[in-house]
Amino acid sequence: MTVVQFSLLASALFSIGIYGVLVRRNAIMVLLAVELMLSAVAVNLVAFGAFWQDRLASGQIFALFVIAVGAAEVGIGLAIVLLVFRNRSTANVDELDLMKW
């Protein structure tokens, strides 16, 4: 196993996440894509951690924190989506254009 293959996998996941963020209209779908990106980061971190044989396991710990942060973000995101939905009856991000010039 080479470190680069994990990193390439992470890059692919991350890029797919980017695509998802850019094309999805539904806010929840956007969140899904973000989740993909974060998991890509986690893959990277763990792979690098293994690569460096880090005694402090910084990579894994970082990955754990990223996962935790991801969870928190999803919680926050869904709350906001709900809020928007309650007021606007839609969860589509492209319909947010109250503040345009």
């Binding site: 850019l22 589509n92 492209d94 319909e95 947010l96 254009d97 345009k100």
Partner: protein, 673 residues
């Protein structure tokens, strides 16, 4: 010329050494300047509360100047005097700016002239100005006028000269424009000021050129440098000389700067009188006289120019005087012509003759103007076509006029004869044949137009509507006084007989290197007298018959020449059309336009550009890819709202921009690093 005159230097130096230092009288001569100026200030501020509305103060001040001048004259008549005192009013390193007064033959002559003629004029003015508007202010300004002239005359340095020079100008502006309710009068005042100002530029630059080269503003230093042949000064001598002379041309109204003087008749007549006699127009001649050793030595190359200007002026202006209807204008052009004599004389190296003519001219021209004023006072018109027959109605006025006229014509034994003759003799001696011929012709013209004016004014039938009467004593007495002086002043300098004036006027800090005739050149004198008489005869022939209208009376009329003369050779029009109007009109407007439209336009356009850029960037910022794609013309569907909603969301645009920015940065760095 310098070499020719070097021989005279020794003798002249001995002469210079004789003079006295003047004592307390010279040391106190500063009061000559200060008294009129202070009096003027007092009159302007509180004159109205004085019993005679300020006139008394003005009169007293002029009296003081006159008495003081005469006293200086008498006290030093025998020995001559050179006294100079300066006080520093500013200093820049080694370069001092000073204020002071000079008392020598030249300046005392002018003090006396200003004082005596001024005193007469001020006395007269009391009667003349009675009941006129701004009476008090008039005397304030008038006193200031005289004071300013005295500042000029008393100047031991060129800067003070400039100060007096311009103050005279502004005083004349105030006086000429005295009746400023009429636009014509204020125009005349402006014209006087501006024409002078143009010439002053020459003076100022000339002074700068000379003073900066010599390192001092004092006349004595400059003349000293000129005398020892300072090489730096020699380099700029001609330029400096011409520039100074341009200044002199302005004040002394030499062609082509003469245009202001006839218009200056817009002022009250006493003003004209003083202006033409002792103050203002004499300043130019005075300056050339003051700088005479310079013109005679280092800057001698300027002399032909001076002669030429003088000669042109004396002849051309005399011609115009022949066709004037306004009596004051006749006198005005006559003054121009006489100033031409003086200038030409200076140019020809005849310092004494020129100054002597200035001296005599002051009396009879002052007189003539006062007489004209007296006439105008009675007739309420300036035009000779409204006069005639006043000989009987105003006898004192008439007889004094005759004295003045004959003096002006140069009829023996009146003063004009001697001074004019001396100039002619100097031309003759100096080999200035052309100048001599023109000057003689000028004498004929002078006699002619004065005869014309005399006949039209005092002879024949009265044609006006007012009821003229002899003027009050307060006006006629000064006339008589001046008439006496005009009659006898010529005897102050009769070559070979009595050369007191020569002695006097050449008593200076610097030697005056000129030729002094040993006696009267009778040949020249005879020609002069004959020409004068011929002029009188010609005038008599043409104008003795009382004609009804002006046109008929000008029966010598030669159509083209007449129109040319009536229009003053179109010089005024030329200035107006060629210079003043374009500058005031299109050029000024163009400059203003460049300011408003171009410079401001650039500024405003920059503002608009920034704002426009703001709009554009904001549009791109807010609509991101859509905006970019639409702007680039790739838009597939209908532009507008629908596109915005369906194609991409705002948040995603933000995100896209974020990633695009990221990607570009990264790629850029990878490529360029």
């Amino acid at each position: 010329m310098i070499h020719a005159l070097n021989a005279l230097v020794a003798a002249e130096e001995a002469h210079v050494a004789e003079h006295s230092d003047g004592g307390w009288l010279a040391a106190g001569a500063w009061t000559l300047v200060v008294v009129p100026l202070v009096a003027a200030a007092i009159i302007i501020f509180v004159g109205k509360r004085l019993p005679r509305k300020g006139w008394e103060l003005a009169w007293a001040a002029m009296g003081y100047v006159g008495v003081y001048g005469v006293a200086l004259f008498i006290a030093n008549a025998s020995s001559g005097i050179v006294y100079e005192q300066s006080f520093e009013i500013a200093r820049m390193g080694s370069f001092a700016i000073e204020w002071g007064w000079v008392v020598d033959g030249l300046s005392i002559t002018l003090y006396t002239l200003v004082g005596v003629v001024g005193f007469a004029v001020f006395t007269y003015a009391k009667g003349y100005m009675e009941g006129e508007i701004r009476y008090t202010f008039f005397f304030g300004a008038f006193t200031f006028f005289a004071g300013a002239m005295l500042v000029l005359v008393s100047a031991p340095n060129m800067l003070q000269l400039i100060v007096g020079w311009e103050l005279v100008g502004v005083a004349s502006y105030l006086l000429i424009g005295h009746y400023w309710e009429d636009k014509e009068n204020s125009n005349a005042a402006m014209k006087a000021f501006l024409v002078n100002k143009v010439a002053d530029v020459g003076l100022i630059i000339g002074v700068i050129v000379i003073a900066a080269t010599v390192g001092s503003l004092r006349f004595t230093d400059v003349l000293e440098a000129a005398a020892v042949g300072d090489s730096a000064l020699a380099d700029v001598a001609v330029a400096g000389g011409i520039l100074l002379f341009i200044g002199a041309m302005g004040k002394s109204a030499q062609f082509p700067f003469h245009v202001w003087l006839p218009d200056a008749m817009a002022g009250p007549t006493p003003v004209s009188s003083l202006m033409h006699a002792a103050t203002m127009v004499t300043a130019g001649v005075y300056l050339v006289g003051r700088m005479f050793p310079f013109y005679e030595g280092m800057a001698e190359d300027v002399r032909p120019l001076i002669i030429a200007v003088g000669v042109i002026t004396l002849f051309a202006m005399g011609l115009i005087a022949m066709v004037q209807d306004d009596i004051k204008k006749v006198l005005a052009y006559s003054t121009l012509s006489q100033l031409g004599y003086m200038t030409a004389a200076m140019g020809a190296g005849a310092y004494t003759a020129g100054m002597f003519h200035l001296f005599t001219h002051a009396f009879f021209k002052g007189l003539l103007f006062l007489v004209a004023g007296s006439v105008i006072h009675g007739v309420h018109s300036n035009n000779m076509s409204d006069m005639g027959g006043l000989r009987k109605l105003m006898p004192k006025t008439y007889w004094t006029w005759i004295v003045g006229t004959l003096a002006l014509m140069g009829i023996f034994p009146l003063s004009g004869f001697f001074s004019k003759d001396e100039i002619l003799a100097q031309f003759s001696h100096g080999g200035e044949t052309l100048a001599l011929i023109v000057a003689v012709g000028g004498a004929f013209i002078t006699a002619f137009y004065m005869t014309r004016a005399t006949l039209l004014t005092f002879w024949g039938e009265y044609k006006g509507s007012a009821h003229p009467d002899e003027s009050p004593n307060i006006m006629t007495r000064p006339l008589i006084g001046l008439a006496v002086l005009s009659a006898v002043a010529g005897f102050a300098n009769v070559p070979g007989v009595y050369d007191g004036f020569t002695e006097w006027i050449t008593t200076r800090g610097q030697a005056i290197l000129e030729y002094h005739p040993d006696g009267i050149d009778f040949g020249i004198a005879a020609i002069g007298l004959a020409v004068g008489l011929a002029g009188i005869y010609a005038g008599w022939v043409l104008f003795s018959k009382d004609r009804a209208t002006q046109r008929e009376r000008d029966s010598f009329e030669v159509p083209v020449l007449y129109r040319l003369l009536r229009n003053k050779y179109y010089i005024d029009d030329l200035y107006a059309v060629g210079l003043v109007n374009p500058i005031k009109g299109p050029i000024a407007r163009f400059v203003n336009w460049t300011n408003q439209a171009i410079l401001d336009g650039i500024v405003n356009a920059a503002g608009i550009m920034v704002k426009g850029l703001g709009t554009f960037v904001y549009g791109f910022d807010q609509r991101g890819l859509d905006f970019g794609i639409n702007a680039a013309g790739f838009s597939a569907g209908e532009a507008g709202e629908t596109l915005r909603h369906s194609q991409t969301g705002k948040v995603q645009q933000y995100a896209a921009a974020l990633f695009v920015g990221m990607a570009l940065l990264v790629a850029g760095f990878m490529i360029f690093n």
